[in-house]
Amino acid sequence: MTGSINPAAAKRLWSIPWDAGFVTAVSFLGSPRKLAAGNEHGDILLWDLPEQPGNEVPPPRRLLKGHINFVTALAVTPDGRWLISASYDHTVRLWDLSAEAEGNVAVVMEPKQKAQQRAGRKPGEKPPPVQVEQQIEASVRTAHGDWVRGMSLNGDGTRLLTGDERGLAVLWDIPGGKELRRWQVPGWLQGVALSRDAKQMATCEFATRYALFKNAAKLWDPATGEMKADLSQPCPRAACAGFSPDGTLVATGMGGEWEPARVCIIDVATGKKLRELPGHKHGVHSILFHPDGKHLLTSGRDTCVRIWQIADGKQVGVLGQPRGGQSSDFIYALSLAPDDVTLATADMGGLVEVWSLAG
């Protein structure tokens, strides 16, 4: 059931500090009350959020320990059982969320000076750790030989697309983890997208500057492996992409610190650009079509989530505000809960935030 959103009345429900490192990925776990987030050190934390928002910040429940580098993406199967993570450590890991924990471990949520000052601690005084359950992954996929930057799961959670910075894209069967097909492109794959029915896929080869390849965006047929359209012209410097729920549109976002960073909406059937959405001051990191098919959510380097009306390209809502300076903290990732109105953001500044878009 699709919940309707009211961007103008959106409100923040939770602001969860986790400044042990950049928060780089986020995903709801089959419920608006269950949340996962990953950080630059490879840690993934799970939270159970209370029914009602309150002043007290909910503590994490479980630490998923396995990655040893930047977690770039999180996705969960619709039944909420399998969490899938991608990382700079070249691996894709599957976590069985129905599995029992394997002991407890202490984690420090706010070791940075700002948080210590907020808590009235003296410099150098360590904040108290939080005891959480610990879990290791059910399986590790090692097809990639470089940073796995892009990951996309289809609608029923049976197909997964991953892409790395050696230009390898892999289509997987989930949850078995069998490799179904692979593609090789010349550039670094920073963004990949799989349509809900897994019949379309998009890749974004992108480097901010100085790499020895041309930035490119392409549409592919996952069944045949053939390229259907080269979107590099209409979507310059695309670093991320997402498909509309019906698979007829694909949106791409410019990466890096380009000004302005535009979002392009493309007609999949023709490969033509329908609309261009300026607004993000710098690069775009995450693109998410709302299940209502009418709205698009984007986030990026200007510390904002922007909500767009697809029909006319109008920006109808902004969550957060630029913090000043040049791209002060990225919003790395977005995740929409199954109720379609609860949104989570991964804020590089050391925050996981949860918003209600219902107003």
Partner: protein, 427 residues
Amino acid sequence: MNSSCKPVEHLSRRAFLKGLVGTAGGVLANWGGLCSSAAVADAARKQGKRCILLWMAGGASHLDTFDMKPGRAVGGPFRPIATSVPGTQICEYLPHIARQTQHLAIIRSMCTPEPGHAAGTYLMHTGYRSELGTRHPEIGAVLAKYLGNPTADLPGFIQIDTDGGESSPIAGSGFLGPAYQPFRLGHGGGLPENTQPYLAADSNQRRLGLLDKLEQGFAAEHKAVEIDSYRAAHEKSVRLLRAKGAFDLSAEWPKYRDLYGDTPFGKNCLLARRLVEAGVPFVEVGQHNYDSHEDNFEWHKALLPALDLGWSGLIQDLHDRGLLQDTLIVWMGEVGRTPWINNRVGRDHWVKAWTTVLAGGGIKGGVIYGASNADAVEVRDNPVSERDFFATIYTALGINPNAENMAGVRPVFLTPKGSKAIAELLA
């Protein structure tokens, strides 16, 4: 006096003082060196040493190359790998250099006073901080003077692709004068288009002879530094054209493409090898865009593979030709980068603890010298100043860093007073 000294060097301090040209409130440099300097040059030249500087314009991140801090919050996403020297690790994106580490002396304790690009570039090309009224010579000019053959057709000081905005070296030959000015090549390393003669060789020669005759007469009647400078520059150009085959990579490139890497930097490294092999005492090769205030890791990940192959190919090629023992390779930029990762995933400038690398001629390989502290915020052991760094380079090349040259009326050492070569780094 030593007979190999050039006339301009046969000048006493008194002669210099007498020969100064006063201008409106200023003093023209006398382009001279002291005689002790000529003796130093004679001694140095006999050793036949050469130097190639790999200039990392903008300042490469030491934490993401040669002084990694795995497991620390400042460490970043790059991972260390083992090298040919047991116990020494460097960045995973320098795998070919890792196999040549037995030739490297890695200085992890540079501590310098200039955090800005322009001032840092001046400092790390001259060994001196910029001062009003004195333009110090770049290392290339010093080596051209002390190691170069004055009668050679090729210039003694060549810079390839060093135009990097504020990170561009600009001091040139400084007070050593126009004879040691750099010959600069652009990004592709090729000679300028106007180096193609439009006359047949014999016609060209006749024309040059006529020009020379006319200019001799003019110069005899009009004594001026500017005329001598112009004639010197023109003569250098003519000689350069005679030797321009050294710049032509077309025959060698197919054979060496894989070794040096098929990148502009790789090509320029091969050109540097050809030039030092042809007798050029100093060649500088630039690699740009290390000023990674944003997306530090992506930038370095994009740049390091070209550096890795170009540099390692250069070491290997020089080694295979028996030239490495006489060719010092210097790897450095003007600054290091902050341990802290900023909110653009960048690293800013940092000079309190950073890294440079020496390899080859006169240097002990397989050495780590000095150390930064746990987060590379400060030097923990054996701090190395720019002056000691330059003194080490000059000493490795057989040049006494205390040799003096005149800057106007003032004698100036090659490296600032009190500089000391680092004995542990010298072979």
